[in-house]
């Protein structure tokens, strides 16, 4: 039997985690190692965040955690305590984001399965750096795999978003 260590939090099943999703406070009773991806898709029913490789190697499940892109499949419930999480649904909660507008106009997608994650990464990039250099765009998108487009139309969409002031979301 393990000696009880004071000041050490211990949690098995029935662990409670509280965070905000797209501005709404959420409290869930889940296993602490449950993935944020499952919390979002299964527990909260927000299916815009996609499941694909499940080990942080494709970017389909990209969300913002405290404003920075992270892979929801790598992030565990306990790591979200107190965090502010924004999913693709939150990006357009107040109307179409200029980045989404640019993706639509340039056709920066085909099957669309990587698109939510791609949009999240671009939104984060432009929020931090409204006029990124080409290398900075490429680095920011290096963790988002797209199998359909060959990236050319995605880069055109990003450049269009930059030209149109894609860092500013009016709503």
């Amino acid at each position: 039997m393990l000696d009880k260590i004071p000041d050490t939090m211990e949690a098995g099943r029935g662990f409670q985690v509280g965070f905000r999703v797209n501005g709404h406070p959420v409290t869930l009773e889940v296993p602490p190692s449950r993935r944020l991806l499952a919390l979002i898709r299964e527990d909260l029913g927000l299916t815009g965040t996609k499941r694909s490789c499940e080990l942080g190697r494709c970017g389909s499940c990209m969300v913002l955690l405290n404003g920075r892109p992270v892979n929801a499949c790598l992030t565990m419930a306990y790591q979200c305590e107190g965090a502010d999480i924004v999913t693709i649904e939150g990006i357009s909660a107040g109307g179409l984001h200029p980045v989404q507008q640019a993706f639509q106009e340039e056709g920066g997608f085909q099957c669309g399965y990587c698109t939510p994650g791609m949009v999240v990464s671009v939104v984060a990039l432009l929020a931090a750096n409204p006029q990124p250099a080409p290398e900075e765009i490429e680095e920011a998108l290096s963790g988002n795999l797209c199998r359909c487009t060959g990236y050319a139309s995605i880069l055109r969409a990003v450049n269009r978003a930059i030209e149109q002031g894609g860092d500013i979301h009016e709503n």
Partner: protein, 315 residues
């Protein structure tokens, strides 16, 4: 027995110690059933790939006092183990103190993974891509705690990590680098280069990583050269014979040739499913020699007269 097995489902119990001693004590009590976790990105990858089973317990190090932050301390730059790789990539003080570390961080996984993954985790696995950079930066690690333990040079820690007597309770609490001011010593031109070669242009596991630092004097003499190589899941290490070969020498074709031969003798990683050991060795030798060639070569050649390393070497 722990209560978690009462349930059929394999859900690790989470422990969130607030001090290093608590964390170590937990690990001591729980043994192999428990793993330390910080960002957890490597763990999740191992679990998903079936390389490692989901453990019975996770010991979350993120709440441990003193593991966070980047600060100057005693003429060093201290980087807490919980510092994310994205911070290593973007932090101004780190870039000043160790351009090689910054560049190493840039090449690891992708920005979103670097937002979770920590420098402590990259070090602790024993083969992370920051290690060659830390080796040439002469970094030291706080191995049990920032206060209670001596600072251990990275090379010494790696020897321990790869040895048979590695203590699984070990926690890397932080890294310290000689601060930028301490590096400006010998005069001349300082260089810091880090290169990574993988199987694609980005977001790739490494096959070969190489880091080199040093200075080139006004007289063209190399001083204080430190070189390290690693990559894949090979143990990274300093290339001391290569360093010794270069110390106090000026560029020459013979020197570059000898350098390559020395790297060949000194760096012999094993092959894997994707590259032979010979390829890795040749790549390391080529990258190191080519970077030195670039550093040591005057740039007055006009673009109309392209030169090859061979031609340059025969001057």
């Amino acid at each position: 027995m722990l209560q978690w097995r009462e349930d059929l489902l394999r859900t690790p119990v989470l422990y969130q110690p607030s001090t290093l001693e608590e964390a170590r004590k937990l690990k001591r009590e729980l043994g192999a059933k428990a793993v330390y976790a910080a960002g957890g990105t490597l763990l999740r990858t191992l679990w998903e790939n079936g390389t490692a089973a989901l453990p019975e317990a996770l010991i979350d190090l993120r709440g441990v006092a003193g593991f966070s932050g980047v600060r100057h301390e005693d003429g060093h730059l201290y980087i807490g183990a919980l510092t994310e790789l994205s911070a290593c990539r973007s932090h101004g003080e780190i870039a000043m103190a160790s351009p090689v570390l910054r560049e190493a961080a840039r090449g690891i996984a992708a920005p979103s993974v670097r937002n979770i993954a920590t420098i402590g985790g990259n070090i602790t696995c024993g083969y992370g891509d920051v290690l060659p950079a830390l080796l040439v930066a002469e970094a030291e690690l706080a191995v049990s705690g920032p206060d209670s333990s001596p600072w251990v040079p990275v090379a010494a820690w790696l020897a321990d990590r790869w040895g048979s007597a590695y203590d699984p309770e070990t926690i890397v609490a932080g890294v310290r680098l000689p601060s930028a001011s301490a590096c400006i010593e010998l005069g001349g031109r300082r260089f810091e280069v880090y290169r990574k070669v993988g199987r694609r242009e980005a977001f790739t596991p490494s096959l070969v990583t190489a880091a080199l630092v040093g200075t080139i004097g006004e007289d063209g003499v190399l001083r204080g050269v430190r070189i390290a190589a690693g990559g894949g899941s090979s143990r990274p290490h300093r290339l001391e014979q290569a360093e010794a070969l270069l110390e106090g020498r000026r560029f020459s074709a013979e020197l570059m040739s000898s350098l390559c031969e020395t790297v060949h003798e000194e760096y012999a990683p094993s092959g894997d499913a994707f590259a032979t050991g010979a390829y890795k060795t040749k790549t390391a030798a080529n990258l190191i020699a080519a970077e030195l060639w670039r550093l040591l070569h005057p740039r007055e050649h006009s673009p109309e007269q392209p030169v090859s390393p061979g031609e340059m070497a025969s001057e």
